[in-house]
């Protein structure tokens, strides 16, 4: 156990001196595995085997395909229409543009599995509008940064896919389980906007009211997005296994169908030429390569942690001191929040799940529920100082707003997230209701 904890500390130290996270985990995992097994050839063979096997793991093919789907959707310009339809229904309220941003982020998340992509995309669409109506920078940037976090919870979600593959938990069940907490996220963030404008009405003036016919037209314009969502999620969960379709997908197939659908939408809208297609494919491959490098590094580190016996030692410790399961869970969640100050979401998940998952499941918690709770905590880390990646993405896109301003604006949203987390922990049925009733 000591060796694993030292390894954990060294990974943290290496990451802080800017060693890429994949290499930090891979190097420490390799050395640690060698120290534990005292076999050098066996250690290097283990690393090489992991590289070869991870690169050809059928289950992981879902990762590049979902990323591809998100980038095609982005290229198709659908984000603007999602914002317009959200604005049509909410824009006339106080803080309505910020609310529309939250709703549009939630809708965009339903076709994009990445929080960073959601925040980056929506900032380009929503920020100019909110500036035009004189919104306080704190509210406008915070609503985008917080809304963007929904990307990894509302299905399809790349993070949930990877959690499912790592823990052999049903990806379909995880996706369905993410829906209610995702909707709660939207509602709570809308509440955070109301709270902000109630305290300072000038921060979010109301926009113009959209007449009902125009609302109908705006809604009709996003049919393709809704169709794509139902194709992917419906097919994955067997809801399309009816005459005359008979469509059921594995996660990889759902991602492939989603990516092809998004490609066809972008093509039909005339927003995709050969150069654009090449750029989307190249960017997807590059982003996926970065994620695969982290996956491989984490797998090496996970093997070291397992031969060092950390999960078993933690369980023995909990049993020896008769610590209550909820106290353990609280400890685990606090570790996540602390790690979120340094690590980005995927690395944090990969580094910790091999350690905490066996412990939490052996204490009687449901793997699907734990996956959702972990992703909600990861969402919180995306807007928590000092790292809060979504905040930095926004800073990069918007430019003339300080990160301090964004972090100050994000505080009510962060509090809403903590409240949501507490509810999901105390009422697990909110997460498990849909997977239990719709279970295949």
């Amino acid at each position: 156990m000591t060796a694993a904890l030292v390894g954990f500390a060294v990974v943290l130290a290496l990451v802080l001196v800017r060693v890429p996270i994949a290499f930090a985990m891979g190097i420490v995992g390799t050395i640690g595995y060698f120290v534990e097994t005292e076999r050098w050839t066996g250690t290097i063979s283990m690393v090489s085997r992991l590289i070869l096997d991870t690169a050809q793991d059928y289950g992981l093919s879902v990762v590049p395909l979902f990323i591809l789907m998100g980038l095609f959707v982005n290229k198709g310009g659908l984000s603007r229409e999602l914002y317009q339809v959200s604005y049509a229904f909410l824009g006339h309220l106080k803080g309505g543009l910020a609310m529309a941003t939250i709703l549009a982020c939630g809708l965009f998340s339903a076709i994009c599995g990445s929080s960073l992509a959601t925040a980056a995309t929506m900032s380009k669409v929503a920020m100019p509008q909110m500036r035009r109506y004189g919104y306080d920078d704190r509210l406008s940037t915070a609503s985008i940064a917080a809304g963007g976090t929904l990307g990894i919870l509302i299905p399809p979600s790349v993070i949930l896919v990877i959690y499912g593959l790592m823990t052999e938990t049903s990806i379909g069940a995880l996706f369905i389980a993410g829906i209610v907490p995702g909707l709660m996220g939207i509602l709570f963030y809308l509440g955070a906007v109301r709270f902000t404008v109630a305290r300072n009405p000038a921060s979010g003036p109301a926009g113009e009211r959209t007449p009902w016919p125009a609302r109908g037209r705006a809604l009709a314009a996003v049919w393709a997005v809704l169709l794509l969502f139902f194709l992917v999620i419906g097919g994955l969960y067997g809801a399309l296994d009816v005459w005359p379709l008979y469509l059921t997908f594995s996660p990889t197939e759902a991602a492939g169908m989603g990516a092809t659908g998004a490609f066809l939408i972008a093509l039909a809208r005339g927003t995709l030429d050969v150069r654009g297609l090449f750029e989307v494919l190249r960017d997807t491959a590059t982003t996926s390569a970065g994620l695969f490098a982290v996956l491989i590094g984490a797998a090496v580190f996970s093997n070291f942690v397992n031969v060092a016996g950390l999960p078993d030692a933690l369980l023995a410790l909990v049993q020896a001191y008769a610590i209550s399961p909820y106290a353990v869970l609280l400890g685990v969640l606090l570790v996540y929040v602390a790690l979120g100050c340094v690590f980005e979401s995927l690395s944090m998940l990969l580094l910790t799940v091999p350690i905490f998952f066996p412990l939490v499941v052996s204490l009687g918690f449901d793997p699907v529920w734990f996956g959702i709770v972990v992703v909600v905590v990861v969402e919180i880390s995306l807007i928590t100082p000092p790292v809060g990646l979504n905040v930095f993405i926004l800073k990069g896109v918007v430019g003339d707003v300080s990160t301090g301003t964004i972090f100050r604006g994000v505080t009510p949203f962060w509090a809403a997230d903590i409240l949501r987390l507490a509810i999901l922990v105390l009422v697990p049925g909110l997460v498990m209701f849909l997977p239990n009733t719709m279970g295949p």
């Binding site: 890429p20 690169a55 960017d283 994620l291």
Partner: protein, 175 residues
């Protein structure tokens, strides 16, 4: 021509072919998955070899992009402590980190070649198309070699020609 002008051109030229391979294999993967589902649902005639081709196309796509990812310094990293490093400390840190990571990548790359050759000697082939398992494995091993070499080159460029290096880097980070 100065290094600062030449390096972006050279890096773009070197990156184009692997990027094209990555793009074509990813596009083929997407279309093949679509065709497999449609053929299975509509004609009850799925592509039996789709699973093995998925694995190969994914490996080719991901590992074609790996050297460019390494060369451009776009591996996921935390930049929290960047303000603590002055210009020279940054150069030395970049040298140590990149050369260290690149050199350490060569070990598993070398071992992956051994494992690939072992697959060849055992006659391992895929189930339907009977593609030798050696091919994707040796491709991955070679990509690791190139990625390692790219990291080492990046480390030395960061020390000796940091301006040329930043001029050659693409805009934006990993999404």
């Amino acid at each position: 021509m100065t290094l600062a002008k030449a390096l972006p051109r050279v890096s773009r030229a070197l990156a184009f072919v692997p990027a094209l391979v990555a793009a074509v294999s990813l596009f083929a993967l997407m279309l093949m998955t679509f065709a497999d589902v449609v053929l299975r649902s509509a004609l009850d005639a799925p592509l039996p070899w789709a699973t093995e081709m998925t694995r190969i196309l994914m490996a080719v796509s991901i590992f074609s992009a790996m050297p460019a990812l390494s060369a451009s310094g776009r591996h996921i990293a935390v930049d929290l402590t960047d303000p603590l490093f002055g210009p020279w400390a940054t150069r030395i840190r970049e040298l140590l980190v990149n050369v260290g990571c690149g050199a350490l990548l060569l070990w598993p790359a070398e071992r992956a070649v051994v494992l690939a050759r072992r697959s060849l000697s055992y006659g391992d082939v895929t189930e339907y198309l009977r593609i030798p398992q050696y091919w994707p494995e040796i491709f991955i091993a070679l990509a690791c070699y190139v990625a390692g070499a790219a990291l080492i080159a990046r480390g030395f460029l960061a020390l000796l020609a940091p301006r040329a290096l930043s001029a050659a880097e693409p805009e934006g980070g990993l999404g």
